[in-house]
């Protein structure tokens, strides 16, 4: 972020004066705060004056038809895409727009991609090892030793995601659903404050879906979780609060019942299914 924009927008202290390694400040409630965010790709407005607030410990579902800007929104939060205008804050202290992807990740935002992305050549165990919260600079990584407490932590997560028996197999041989689980496991290893989960149950069986629902609900409270999902049954089973995105901005927000009775929402989205 250039210094000129900072000088122009003097509603807070200069960014470079705020320490970046300070803990996330959630005393004011929200852990994630997006305000008036706009992004366009070649004239197409993918995100259009988006305002969104996620409270600390909340489990929020985001739904919306294809092209509503769900994935772009995640790209902005994790630092992959820079918005044209607007501001994105993590807690009330960290301006995410000035930070790189690894910085944002080590601050405590974990992300699961829409298409499950695991390291296929590495074993399930090694996948979790790499995701583990640790000093991730080059030299500490070179000299890193596996300690018993690390091993225990990985075992714990292996159990949670039900992949103990496949721990020493390369992740490439896992089924689609198992890869989804492994990726969720990798998120857990990161111990993030905020989990962004993009379509977690695609390709899962009914039972696997139930377990995923259990897992995500159990996380809420300790961590904040944002789930983007198409599967309405799944959303209904976990959601307390739902946000409907449409054409890059928030169309409706509220409980699943409120939202599904909203005439606007029915028109653009649910109407097609009902």
């Amino acid at each position: 972020m250039s210094i000129m924009t900072e000088l122009a927008a003097r509603d807070r202290v200069f960014n470079f004066l705020t320490p970046t390694d300070s803990p996330v400040d959630v005393r004011h409630g929200p852990i994630l705060y997006l305000e008036d965010v706009n992004v366009s790709f070649d004239g197409f407005r993918a995100i259009n004056n988006l305002n969104l607030t996620i409270d600390d410990g909340e489990l929020r579902c985001i739904i919306g038809p294809n092209g509503a800007g769900k994935t772009t929104m995640m790209d902005i939060i994790t630092g992959k895409t820079a918005p044209d205008t607007g501001s994105v804050w993590f807690g009330s202290r960290h301006n995410l727009l000035t930070m790189s992807e690894p910085d944002i990740a080590s601050l405590g935002i974990g992300r699961k991609f829409q298409k499950p992305t695991v390291f296929e050549a590495l074993t399930v165990f090694e996948n979790l090892e790499l995701a583990m919260a640790a000093d991730k600079r080059v030299f500490p990584t070179l000299t890193a030793q596996m300690k018993p407490k690390h091993r225990e932590r990985i075992e714990e997560v292996l159990e949670t995601i039900n992949l103990q028996d496949l721990r020493d197999r390369p992740a490439g041989i896992l089924s689609h659903g198992q890869k989804q689980w492994l990726e969720i496991g990798m998120l857990l290893m990161q111990k993030p404050r905020l989990l962004l989960v993009d379509e977690p149950v695609a390709g899962m069986t009914e039972q696997e879906m139930e377990r995923t629902a259990e897992l995500l609900t159990s996380l809420a409270g300790k961590q904040s979780v944002v789930v983007v999902e198409h599967d309405m049954g799944f959303v209904r089973s976990i959601a307390r609060k739902v946000t409907v995105l449409h054409q890059g901005s928030v169309l409706a927000e509220g409980s699943m019942d409120q939202v599904s009775n909203d005439p606007e929402v029915i028109k653009v989205y649910l109407g097609e299914e009902a």
């Binding site: 990740a105 074993t123 090694e126 990584t141 070179l142 390369p170």
Partner: protein, 378 residues
């Protein structure tokens, strides 16, 4: 410790065992047997083998970045040649006043060009410690600057390969110029001693051969130490899913930079040991073809195994020696055909063939074996 971990591995012990055994056998056959004996290894052969070992170390360096980091460098010849030039400059300064023109300071080619004094970048190369440090630092510094610019801008894949190729080509053109002060297209040659030992005696040649073998052993252990560390797994992660690695909090560009610089330094060491054994360094070592040839060695031996790179480099260069002796014109066709055949029929190279064999012999030994083979495929 990451450096001692490989020494406890069976595969590394086996590799080092074979390497040291070969060094000892060659030394004994060279020294103990009289020259007429059919098993006698001549000084010529010792130097030839030393050359192969230099290529093997170079191939290991390329395999580290290509096999484990996914960066196909088509310019590693540049780092090899820079290490070679650093050594060549030291050897030139060792000639002293024994050159054709008898100038105590200026190398012959500078006298020939009517230069009055030594260019500043030749200072210090009369001291062995400085020159040997430059063998590591010159290629390392180039890799650092080049890598920093390329990886920071997230240049990857084919584009990066093309840029590395352009890098070595540009350096070749630059070193061809007499004004650069590196001897132009003749390069640096006519060396006499290294560290006080006469380069033309058999004992020095044998010593250089053994030194190269030890350098290969150290280089192999360093690379193996990196790839078996957590950082090695992170570089495989960068290779297979760069974006994912970034979202886990790793700075992908720094991992790439570190591994790339280490690899360039190893290539520099290989070049430095190569020069006293072949007796010349000239800009042809920068030629793009040479850098591509290195990649062929690694592909043939098997990527991401390290020992495969060693096998590939030695086999291809042995074939080259034989072929260019029998029918020199056909060599490039043979090399091209070899590359095509290996890519189509042996995508994992010779190492893949060895592994398949081992797998089929210990089939049915249960899941405990699978962890070691899955590690090998990584």
């Amino acid at each position: 410790m990451w450096l001692t971990r490989p020494l406890q591995e069976r595969s590394t012990q086996l590799f080092l065992g074979i390497l040291f055994f070969a060094l000892i056998v060659v030394t004994v056959l060279h020294l103990a047997l009289p020259e007429g004996n059919p098993l006698h290894v001549s000084a010529y052969t010792v130097t030839l083998l030393g050359k192969y070992l230099c290529y093997a170390l170079l191939a290991v360096a390329v395999d580290l970045v290509w096999g484990y980091l996914g960066i196909l460098s088509l310019g590693h010849g540049a780092f090899f040649a820079l290490g070679g030039y650093a050594m060549g400059m030291y050897l030139m300064r060792q000639i002293g006043d024994r050159g054709t023109y008898g100038d105590p300071i200026l190398p012959d080619f500078m006298v020939f060009l009517n230069w009055q004094e030594l260019p500043w970048y030749w200072y210090g190369f009369d001291m062995a410690w400085f020159a040997f440090a430059m063998v590591l630092l010159a290629p390392g510094a180039l890799a650092l600057v080049f890598g920093w610019l390329a990886f920071r801008s997230r240049v990857t894949g084919v584009y990066l390969s093309i840029i590395t190729q352009a890098l070595t080509f540009a350096l070749m053109l630059a070193f061809f110029r007499n004004e650069m002060g590196f001897g132009g297209n003749n390069g640096l040659t006519d060396f006499r001693d290294i560290l006080g030992f006469n380069l033309r005696t058999d004992a020095t040649r044998l010593g250089l051969f053994i030194a190269t073998g030890i350098a290969l052993a150290i280089g192999y252990v360093v690379c193996r130490g990196i790839v078996t560390s957590k950082l090695g797994r992170v570089s495989v992660a960068c290779r297979d899913a760069e974006a994912r690695t970034r979202f886990l909090g790793y700075r992908v560009e720094r991992v790439q930079l570190f591994v790339f610089v280490v690899s360039a330094m190893l290539a520099g060491v290989a070049g430095a040991l190569y020069v006293p054994q072949v007796g010349i360094i000239n800009p042809s070592e920068f030629s793009p073809i040479f850098s591509i040839e290195i990649v062929v060695w690694v592909a043939l031996g098997g990527r991401a195994t390290l020992y495969g790179a060693v096998i590939g480099a030695i086999l291809v260069n042995y074939a080259k020696t034989v072929f260019t002796g029998v029918m020199p014109d056909a060599w490039l066709f043979a090399l091209g055909a070899l590359f095509v055949l290996v890519t189509v029929f042996l995508p994992q190279g010779i190492a893949g063939l060895l592994r398949k064999r081992r797998k089929s012999t210990d089939d049915g030994s249960g899941p405990s074996e699978s962890s070691s083979t899955s590690e090998a495929t990584a």
